[in-house]
Symmetry: C2
Subunit: 377 residues, 2 copies
């Protein structure tokens, strides 16, 4: 049997934060990592070559969207998700569970799994832990997730416990279904709502399964940031320190900085891409709404110090015009600018950790956000 | 006074067809040329670097759209159209007349010009020959158009004559307003509906003005192709043979081939870009509707012989998926594929003319279209 080329290397620590890389046969993922979301087989409004150029080592695909359209078996027939997307680098897929809960209709959860109707055409599907792993295999995903049940916050402790225990049983079934796949990984997902004891129970039980990585799920679903950070702090000591930790669906730049400080290695979020399609830019000045009339006559670029050429090349006035005119190029440019800012932030975090100056980096970065945007001309 | 660096060089002829280049201070435009349409300051769904890479020497901007939003004075304050678009190569602008007729509300045409209400917010504007040239100057356009009145076909001969004569008077006023601008050009526009004698009168009168180029307007507005081609044949002998000829708003690949054979040098059309946003591809196989279910499981690229990497790289199945899912990337990719096909066609025409084999090239190209798409797998 070939040696497992899926490995996590930590090269430096600063407090609880770590930097290093996940090695896979498709390439290394520098951590802490931000993974752009490629929902239905495309990071919306971006060419894959751009996503690579702006610094992403890995993108995410959503099982829920892909199983409905174009369908997992079809993706496999077309050569797999990497092939169809023209993205030869690592791909992480979620299990579909979260989006079944948030998007599908007529959901019914049983011990076996979840049945639901497609939000596109109403057709019926079943998703079990085994089927989710099968789908992720058909897609060719490098990092796969167990099926879990993610409850909405706030919820009762009993409800959080029931869903967490079900997710643990599904983790076990997912691990069995995944089996041994050298070069690939299946992560378990810590659940437990906002209840510390449940989170600890979940993390301990998953750790005992000796998985290749651990996700923290069910957070950033509307609760205040302090609850999210407290849950991370709660589970972090119970997650194996030599395995990557992935905080699912998070988040704002501030969420990411604070979570990295608490030992998280991987992130994904639709914010930079979704905001980019609505004229909202993330930058070292904080959030900038390019729809605002103050930008209409502004010849300055969004950020002349950016590593990403479009952030330096195009004027705010032009970006404002594109946004106001609903031009696709506006979505393309601002999405790219946002993803580039996220990747620049991650690179800054990695360097800061390796130089043991994460605290200073955090202060400097937040100072920039708090200063806000350039004064109007 | 500097010598005029706007010049037209013809390097070879084949029948009435010509190949060569228009030289401008911003670069040469190889002819016959297809100019992608950059309506509101962006070739929709395309990065300008891509438009350049796929072979375009020049793009078009629409005065009507740009005067409404962001406004010509604002474009000038932001550094001009080339600057804001990040397109340092030549730009041609129309005069706004055609789109005022087709898009604006409450139009009123007088000898002085046209007043209208914006289709965006109803605000009132006046466009005169002088104001159109002023706007095109504010945009920084390299090749500017006279304001003209384009009548809808079919129309009465009297109506066609009235509009043609008005357009001639406006051509004179436009030429005076444009004055001497070394390195830039203003083209007159031949009108006259589908009436040969009116077209000839228009061409002769414009030729007497000794302009730097001549457009043929008011065609491809719904009339059969044979009428369009007959009008081109009618006016061609009356247009100075040493000046570029631009057939406005044309057209399909077949329209372009047939017009090049009749002595036309420049074209623009929204077809490749608009079709690209609706899942329709132009190719050497003719038109391909990627929305069609026959492509869903097809792993083959759209055209493995294409010069444009996305046409070779992405599968038809993936493009179908993107189109069905209304993904922006589908619009981006198919728009690029279409523009690349148009540019490949123009390059083929140029080479064929220079080798005096335009008749053979035409037959080969039409044979490819008539063969149709690849057989289904």
């Amino acid at each position: 049997m070939p040696s497992d080329t899926f490995q996590f290397h930590i090269s430096a620590r600063d407090g609880r934060a770590r930097t290093g890389f996940v090695s896979t046969p498709r390439g290394d993922i520098r951590t802490p990592a931000f993974m752009p979301v490629g929902t239905a087989g495309t990071v919306k409004a971006m060419h894959p070559g751009e996503v690579r150029d702006l610094g992403a080592d890995i993108v995410l695909g959503n099982v829920y969207h892909l199983m409905l359209r174009p369908g997992a078996e079809r993706v496999a027939r077309l050569g797999g998700l990497h092939r169809i997307m023209n993205w030869p680098h690592p791909i992480l897929t979620d299990s579909g569970g979260f989006q079944v809960m948030s998007l599908a209709k007529l959901r019914r959860i049983t011990e076996k799994g979840v049945t639901f109707s497609s939000h596109i055409d109403g057709s019926k599907y079943e998703l079990t832990p085994e089927r989710s792993i099968e789908i992720q295999g058909l897609l060719g995903s490098d990092i796969q997730m167990q099926l879990d049940e993610c409850v909405k916050l706030p919820c009762s402790d009993a409800e959080a416990e029931r869903a967490m225990e079900l997710s643990l049983r599904w983790a076990n079934r997912s691990a069995i279904a995944f089996g041994e796949q050298p070069g690939k990984a299946m992560f378990g997902i810590v659940q437990g709502g906002a209840v510390e004891s449940l989170r600890i129970r979940s993390a301990e039980a998953l750790a005992a399964m000796n998985l290749k990585g651990y996700s923290i799920g069910g957070l950033a679903v509307g609760e205040p940031q302090d609850i999210m950070l407290r849950m991370i702090e709660t589970v972090e000591p119970f997650l194996p320190s030599d395995k990557p930790r992935y905080l699912m669906g998070v988040g704002t730049p501030d969420d990411i900085v604070e979570s990295v400080r608490r030992g998280v290695d991987m992130f994904d979020c639709v914010m930079p891409t979704r905001a980019g399609r609505h004229g909202l830019a993330y930058s070292r000045f904080g959030k900038i709404n390019l729809r605002n009339a103050r930008h209409a006559d502004d010849p300055r670029p969004l950020d002349e110090t950016s590593d990403w050429e479009p952030a330096r090349r195009y004027s705010r006035g032009y970006l404002h015009h594109l946004v106001k005119s609903d031009e696709i190029l506006g979505m393309m440019l601002i999405t790219g600018i946002n993803l580039a800012y996220y990747q620049t932030l991650m690179a800054g975090l990695r360097t800061a950790i390796s130089q043991a100056r994460l605290a200073d980096f955090t202060l400097e970065t937040k100072f920039g956000w708090e200063q806000g945007d350039l004064p109007a001309l």
